[in-house]
């Protein structure tokens, strides 16, 4: 868990676009502050990594995300804090051993 008041977390999500609107979703997410987008090559799905400087920005970002029209669903995977504490373990720890990415 994150210590209250610590510099804000880095979070990663799986973002599902509304059917057929992956590119629109990727473009829209990229425009939001502190957002990094990694679209899958062969699936309509992308990884979103957010990095906010403080609580207020994080909350604002949450509202912005909710407003993205091409976003169907957002699944939080990991929340890590840049504080002098151990980061929380990723929520999903399943690992698949096949390759496909370097």
């Amino acid at each position: 868990m994150l210590r209250r008041g610590a510099p804000m977390p880095i979070k990663s999500y799986l973002a599902y676009p509304v059917s057929g609107r992956l590119d629109e979703l990727a473009a829209a997410l990229r425009r939001l502050p502190g957002c990094e987008v990694i679209p899958a090559v062969n699936r309509d799905l992308l990884v979103l990594v957010t990095d906010s400087p403080d609580e207020a920005a994080e909350a604002a970002l949450g509202l912005e995300l909710a407003r993205v029209p091409a976003l169907q669903a957002l699944a939080l995977v990991a929340g890590l804090g840049d504080a002098a504490i151990d980061p929380a373990p990723p929520i999903s720890s399943a690992r698949h051993s096949s390759g496909g990415r370097s």
């Binding site: 090559v41 062969n42 096949s98 390759g99 496909g100």
Partner: protein, 237 residues
């Protein structure tokens, strides 16, 4: 008795009428002007070097979903070990049934590739499935020692990393004849590991990858323009 017979006849008639009504309605509703691709008088010719990259294009997206299988990769060394020289038809490394010299048996595995449990390997895909007489060029090896020693030398295979600039799409270092279908050798788990493309879903390969001709003279002025008949031409400065 009569009553039940009339009843049955009546029921049959009713059912017949219903059948006709429903079938007729469905027929009329389903009728649409035919919008089928017409069989055309002028068939489009195949230009092999142009059409090859688009062959089997419907499966292109599937290649991206295939696993990389790092433990079962096909290496470049193994690839060239089967060829007398770069561009030679590879020998058949597995036993074959002598009665099956023609296409169908070979294409069962080499037409589309895939995992072959018997040999615990991914079958390489042929770039030229239209050539039906496989054993005309591809022969198995009996594994006997050499009849007499040979001094055969083979030219080096084309170098990798021949991209003009870092990150540029590397040019095609081999001739295209019988290798027009890029995906056969450069996509999927049956491909040689270092040749495997990162983007099999892009199908217009030669849009980015130019054919590298061996040492055409570099472009340089001055040029002598060829003269048409009966006219003298000046040399360009």
């Amino acid at each position: 008795m009569n009553r039940s017979r009339y009843f049955l006849i009546g029921l049959a008639v009713l059912l017949m009428a219903a059948l006709v009504a429903v079938a007729g309605q469905s027929l009329i509703a389903g009728r649409e002007p035919a919008r089928v691709m017409p069989v055309t008088a002028q068939a489009t010719p195949t230009l092999p070097t142009e059409a090859g990259m688009y062959a089997r294009v419907a499966r292109a997206a599937d290649y991206a979903a295939m696993p990389a299988e790092p433990n079962r990769k096909r290496t470049r060394e193994a690839y060239y070990a089967r060829r007398a020289y770069p561009g030679a038809p590879p020998v058949i490394p597995h036993p074959v049934d002598e009665r099956q010299a023609f296409g169908k048996a070979c294409l069962a595995c080499h037409g589309e590739g895939g995992w072959v449990p018997r040999f615990e390997a991914y079958a390489p895909v042929t770039p030229h499935p239209e050539m039906a007489s496989c054993r005309q060029c591809h022969v198995p090896q009996a594994g006997q020692p050499a009849f007499r020693a040979s001094d055969w030398h083979t030219p080096a295979p084309p170098a990798l990393k021949a991209a003009a600039m870092p990150g540029s799409p590397p040019p095609i270092p081999h001739a295209l004849q019988m290798r027009e279908n890029c995906r056969a050798c450069h996509a999927g788990p049956g491909a040689v590991d270092v040749l495997r493309t990162t983007h099999p879903q892009r199908v217009s390969c030669r849009q980015c990858h130019a054919l590298a001709a061996p040492a055409a003279e570099a472009f340089a002025r001055p040029l002598t323009l060829p003269s048409p008949p009966g006219e003298e031409r000046e040399k360009t400065p």
